[in-house]
């Protein structure tokens, strides 16, 4: 199945973290060529507990604790993927993906193309993104735009347990490299998850809330803040539609444009800082494809263009919240 869970489907209440763990376990049971590698993924089970129990079940040969060597983690995953394995590599904090950037951008993204299609790269790189928790400038970033800008990569960032399960399974079964970004403040988010095995195709957005006045496109855990803002706005008489794109590349513009047919007003919300980011890309695509649908200038609610500060109050200024989303919505409806 590919749709969101419906009433007749048997479900279980899980956290995002549990959904990742369960999907990894089920896929590893199904396919012996899947391995997991990264810092602290094995004996420790990852600092957030995401890979807990997998080392015990699958052993040190398939759940590999690595030295702190991001370039080697990413690059060896490529070599393994090119020769018959399906590695799921983990970078402990997505900020440190920078150390593996050559392997990601110059090798992983390009090898299939520059070798004329002779090599497949079935590789997933999981990494926690996002701020909120006083982890300051080097443990708080969201780099989805860096990778969605590189042809050859796919970028996935779901934030509900059911989406995580379906999209991680699609990622693991994909024959192309996937950056799978999990928000570190989203691991404990709970939701109903279908018990059965299912995949969700990349490039299919989820309409998280139906509405007729404003379309809010909200990335990763901004989905939850947008939904909360939408409930409050409903009480003020503004009916918001909330769309979670779930994948950044490929991006589902069809669902966004269909929503704009109804609303004519667009607000894009992402936590990554605003400058040269996906908010601008989404707005420019919408303007180019369907300017005539817009009855007001779109707004972007994004992280501010500073390194993440440590202090709680300063940090709160940088990260988009319900108040900023509300303000943007009221602006586009002309209030």
């Amino acid at each position: 199945m590919t749709a969101t869970p419906t009433a007749e489907v048997q479900t279980r209440r899980l956290t995002v973290k549990q959904a990742i763990n369960q999907t990894l376990r089920e896929e590893m049971q199904r396919d012996p060529t899947i391995i997991i590698l990264g810092c602290d993924v094995g004996v420790r089970g990852n600092p957030f507990g995401v890979t807990k129990g997998l080392y015990e079940e699958f052993g040190a040969g398939r759940v590999l604790d690595t030295p702190i060597s991001e370039a080697a983690i990413v690059g060896s995953s490529l070599g393994a993927a090119a020769t018959g394995l399906r590695p799921v590599a983990e970078i402990l904090f997505s900020d440190w993906i920078t150390i593996g950037m050559d392997q990601l951008v110059n090798q992983i993204a390009k090898i299939r193309y520059m070798f004329g299609g002779a090599i497949s790269v079935p590789l997933v790189i999981r990494a926690p993104v996002g701020a909120g928790g006083g982890q300051a400038a080097q443990h708080s970033q969201s780099f989805e735009n860096w990778f969605s800008a590189v042809p050859g990569l796919q970028v996935v960032m779901p934030s509900t347990p059911a989406d995580v399960k379906g999209l991680l399974r699609t990622a693991i079964r994909s024959d192309d490299p996937v950056l799978f970004f999990e928000h570190k403040r989203g691991y404990e988010i709970k939701g109903q998850v279908p018990v059965e095995e299912y995949t969700i195709p990349f490039g299919l957005a989820d309409v998280a809330r139906n509405g007729s006045d404003v379309t809010i496109v909200a990335v990763s855990i901004m989905r939850h803040k947008a939904l909360s803002a939408a409930e409050a706005l409903a009480a003020e008489g503004v009916d918001c539609e909330v769309i979670d794109p779930r994948t950044i590349y490929p991006f589902d513009y069809d669902t966004v444009l269909a929503s704009l047919q109804k609303t004519g007003r667009l607000v894009v919300v992402h936590e990554a800082n605003r400058r040269s980011n996906i908010g601008g890309e989404i707005v420019s695509q919408v303007v180019e494809r369907a300017f005539e649908l817009l009855s007001a200038p779109p707004r972007i609610v994004a992280g501010l263009d500073v390194p993440m500060p440590y202090n709680r109050s300063l940090e709160a200024l940088v990260i988009p919240d319900e108040a900023r989303i509300r303000q943007a919505v009221l602006t586009v409806v002309g209030r």
Binding site: A71, A72, G79, R112, G116, D175
Partner: protein, 358 residues
Amino acid sequence: MRHRVTPEENCEAVAAFERDILTPLAMSARLEPADLREMYARMRLIREFDTAVKELWKQDFIYGLAHSYVSAEAIAVGACAALRDGDYITSTHRGHGHTIAKGGDPRRMMAELMGRAPGYNKGKGGSMHIAAVDMGMLGATGIVGSAMPIAVGSALTAKTLGRDNVTVCFHGDGATNQGVWHESINLAAAWGLPVIFLCENNQWAISMPYEQAVGNPSVADRAVGYGIPGVTVDGFNAIAVHDAVAEAAERARTGGGPTLIEARFYRYIGHFVADDEAYRDPACNERWQQFDPIERMAGFLLESGSADKAWLDEADETALARVEDAIAFAKAAPEPALDTLYDGLYSDEFMAQQGIGR
């Protein structure tokens, strides 16, 4: 700090190479005369191929950059002669020699260099990314040191799936000063992976002499830091390279982990096809050419009775003819159709699903 190499220093370097590294070619218990003849034929084919490439580049049949494997032939050929089908190699930006040594088809290679459709990479890669994946050659790369972890991953596949194949990671002396070089060797050592790190130390990173780029000019010494065997061989001697790789491969296949081999030689040609070598004294090259790996192999074949002059002449003619045939094939081959631009960007299934290139 960097200083221009003086003629005196170059003479000293030649003398030191003769004293410390140069090893006379000698019969190997692992090789039959037929193997030696095949090694000679492949070395000659590489030489003729890359000699032709330079001219074709000047004539604009080859676009972009091309880096020659001339002077290094003994290394790729010696190493690949120690490998089996199913073994992998990773390459450098000088990938023509590795491709030929691993059994690549000169026609498809030359077609790729000319950007033609039947080329190994369908005209998408060119010289710097040439790959013959069907032969276990996992591709040339334009970024120094970048194949190190890829080779480690290939070896990880072998270990995970219980296969007894090995991976040889060719890299240059320039790569040894990249961070990923260290990360990769350390990881392979920690996990005991079946990979052979084969450093082609040609002593020059474009214009930078190796001994001025490092505190210790021995690459092999670094193996101590990783707890793996490190050996230095005469990189102008195909038999010595073969034996070092064969020994390392036997160790790797039986769970003994990685080896670091430094094949010391000298790039007595320019860095790439149009390098004027203004950074060094041309007399350097002349002094080093006395160690030409193909001339030495020819001499050894005669001296050991493994081949006679007539065989050598025929082998030389065959190599030249194969290159001429490859050039004719490539020149006659079609250019890629313009609608293949996006082909291979993602798997076919994803491309169709997303409508990419439509």
